[in-house]
């Protein structure tokens, strides 16, 4: 249910993105999706790769500070209001979304969103009770092949 996301600390300076991306490229690791949070002084690069353990090792050997976070992937109807109805469920369960971003690959009429909840297990339970099943990692990674 839960996916392991890698987060990296970056200084907000030119060319800082290159080191981690090149390290992953040299190790033959494909970035499935990523999102970048930035402030005036620093940024946090969040990314999903299929083999997160290898990805973490490669990035750490390249001297990056890597944090592993559990996130949840959820299919969202690709139509107006699709996301809003899902957010209703989360709101009613009293769960906070730390941040979210879109997965690169959708399927048909469905898009996939990645969520960082403050309580991922409670969020999964609330979603399932409303008939929404989070996407399994295997399915997600197959989709990107």
């Amino acid at each position: 249910m839960k996916l392991k996301q890698l987060s990296l600390f970056l200084e907000n300076k030119p060319a800082r993105l290159k080191t981690p991306c090149k390290a992953l490229a040299d190790a033959g690791i494909n970035i499935l999706t990523l999102s970048l949070a930035d402030t005036q002084q620093f940024g946090i690069l969040r990314l999903l790769v299929e083999d997160w353990e290898k990805g973490k090792r490669v990035l750490e050997e390249a001297g990056c500070v890597v944090n592993v976070t559990e996130v949840v992937a959820v299919e969202v109807e690709d139509r107006p209001g699709g996301l809003a109805s899902l957010l209703d469920v989360i709101e009613q369960a009293g769960i906070n979304i730390e941040y979210m971003y879109a997965f690169t690959f959708g399927r048909g009429d469905k898009a996939v969103m990645i969520f960082r909840f403050d309580a991922p297990d409670a969020a999964i339970e609330a979603l399932q009770q409303s008939g929404i099943n989070p996407v399994q990692s295997v399915t997600l990674y197959e989709r990107s092949r």
Binding site: Q5, S7, F9, L10, E11, R16, A37, T39, Q41, F42, I44, R46, R57, E60, E61, G63, C64, V65, V66, N67, T69, E98, Y99, R116
Partner: protein, 443 residues
């Protein structure tokens, strides 16, 4: 060599005997050696003869240790002014070794050793290692720089004379240091504390757990370091971290060392006589008061120094140590009087900033202080490297951390600093002494 194990399980080394001399005998020895040193300096070093003549004091005037106050003081610039060999008391043919300090500005200061001086140096290094619980059979990785710097060869001679196996790896090439730590069964390491912090960090990146290795002791010196760094090193490497003190002008490493109590450094006072003075007035202070450490060499032949002002701030601990050594202790050197910088009229030592930083959970001692002046106002920026311990994927947590660091610094020194979080390895690693302060203010 026979190993004597006392009831406490500690091994006694014959060279350590002077550490336990009854005070009366030690003081007699000090006086005898001081008289000899003063005679030697007066007879052979023009600089000291002139200084003593100016003060109207003759070698025969030294009747007790208190008379040391009648002698002239020596400062670092006296060594530069007499560059290269002006303070030598031995003819060059008796000098078997020269070392030189890293002169950051201008000429370095040169120091000399006769064969007897090298033997004394070796002896105090053996006594230092014994004090850290090392003995014959230990495998010592010596990561102090070999060369003109006294650290490398000083530790090397001592470790060999102790009967340990020495790995003369010198400083630098951190990946190789880690490989040797893993593969050679190393039980003790010698280097600067900041370099060992770097080794720990690099080992973690390489997936090597230093805690699981046979390494059990670190002998760290050549720069001031804090209790917080000791805690960090001991926890992350599962070793005992000992502070060693020395300076090339006096002999090199091996002037003072901690014992198993890790509560102050025993000064080898049978060879180096300590006084504490007020750095402002130069007046001697009583035992227990904090001030500048002044050292007189009691057995140096090639280059005796009288009342050398070290610029290091400490105090003498007069109380006896539970370890049984009778030689007195000094407090760990937290700061040097010349490390201080003044910002907006406030005196600040880098060690204060370091202590404040380490109060904040998870931060590492990789930092630097940058001083700038903008529109006549001093600005202080503290750059801190992000570590896996405190890196969060949430912006808010990182911002909270910056605020917590800023508050801790403000609380300690009363100045609001700009805190910048920087990527790992962006602060230059020193293989020797770390440079912490970059003063870019002009005028």
């Amino acid at each position: 060599m026979a190993q004597h194990t006392g009831g406490s399980g500690r091994r006694f080394h014959p060279l350590s005997a002077p550490d336990f001399l009854p005070r009366g005998k030690l003081e007699l020895l000090q006086l005898y050696r001081l008289q000899e040193t003063v005679h030697r300096a007066y007879a052979n070093v023009a600089f000291y003869r002139e200084q003593m003549d100016k003060l109207g004091v003759r070698p025969e005037d030294i009747h007790s240790m208190d008379d040391i106050r009648r002698l002239p003081m020596t400062v670092k610039t006296d060594l530069r002014d007499n560059y290269p060999f002006g303070l030598f008391a031995s003819p060059m043919r008796e000098v078997v070794r020269l070392h030189a300090s890293s002169g950051t500005t201008g000429k370095p200061t040169v120091v000399a050793y006769t064969r007897e001086d090298v033997e004394v140096w070796t002896e105090v290094m053996v006594r230092s290692f014994v004090s850290c619980g090392l003995h014959e059979g230990d495998i010592i990785q010596n990561a102090y720089g070999y060369g003109l710097f006294t650290g490398g060869l000083g530790a090397h001679y001592g470790a060999e004379a102790l009967g340990a196996t020495v790995i003369p790896i010198s400083g630098g090439n951190t990946d190789r240091q880690i490989m040797v730590l893993q593969d050679f069964g190393v039980t003790a390491i010698c280097c600067t504390p900041s370099y060992f912090v770097h080794i720990i960090e690099r080992a973690r990146e390489l997936g090597v757990d230093i805690r699981s290795l046979p390494l059990r002791a670190g002998v760290f010196g050549a720069e001031p370091w804090t209790e917080a760094v000791r805690k960090h090193v001991e926890e992350n490497a599962n070793i005992k971290a000992y502070d060693i003190y020395g300076l090339s002008e006096i002999i090199g490493p091996g002037v003072a060392i901690e014992c198993e109590q890790q509560d102050g450094l025993h000064l080898f006072e049978d060879h180096f006589y300590p006084e504490i003075i007020s750095p402002e007035t130069g007046e001697p202070l009583p035992d227990g008061e904090e001030g500048e450490l002044v050292l007189t060499t009691l057995s140096k032949r090639a280059m005796p120094l009288l009342r050398y002002r070290t610029r290091d701030i400490t105090r003498i601990i007069p109380e006896p140590c539970p370890c049984g050594r009778t030689i007195r202790r000094i407090r760990r050197i937290g700061r040097r009087s010349d490390d201080m910088f003044i910002i907006r009229g406030v005196n600040v030592y880098p060690s204060q900033v370091e202590a404040a930083l380490l109060e904040v959970e998870g931060t590492l001692p990789h930092y630097q202080i940058i001083l700038t002046r903008s529109k006549g106002l001093d600005e202080m920026e503290v750059q801190v490297e992000v570590t896996p311990n405190f890196f969060s994927d949430r912006v808010s947590e990182l911002e909270n951390l910056r605020n917590a660091i800023a508050r801790a610094i403000e609380h300690t020194i009363g100045i609001r600093a700009k805190i910048s979080l920087v990527e790992p390895h962006t602060i230059e690693r020193s293989m020797g002494k770390a440079k912490r302060v970059f003063d870019k203010r002009e005028g």
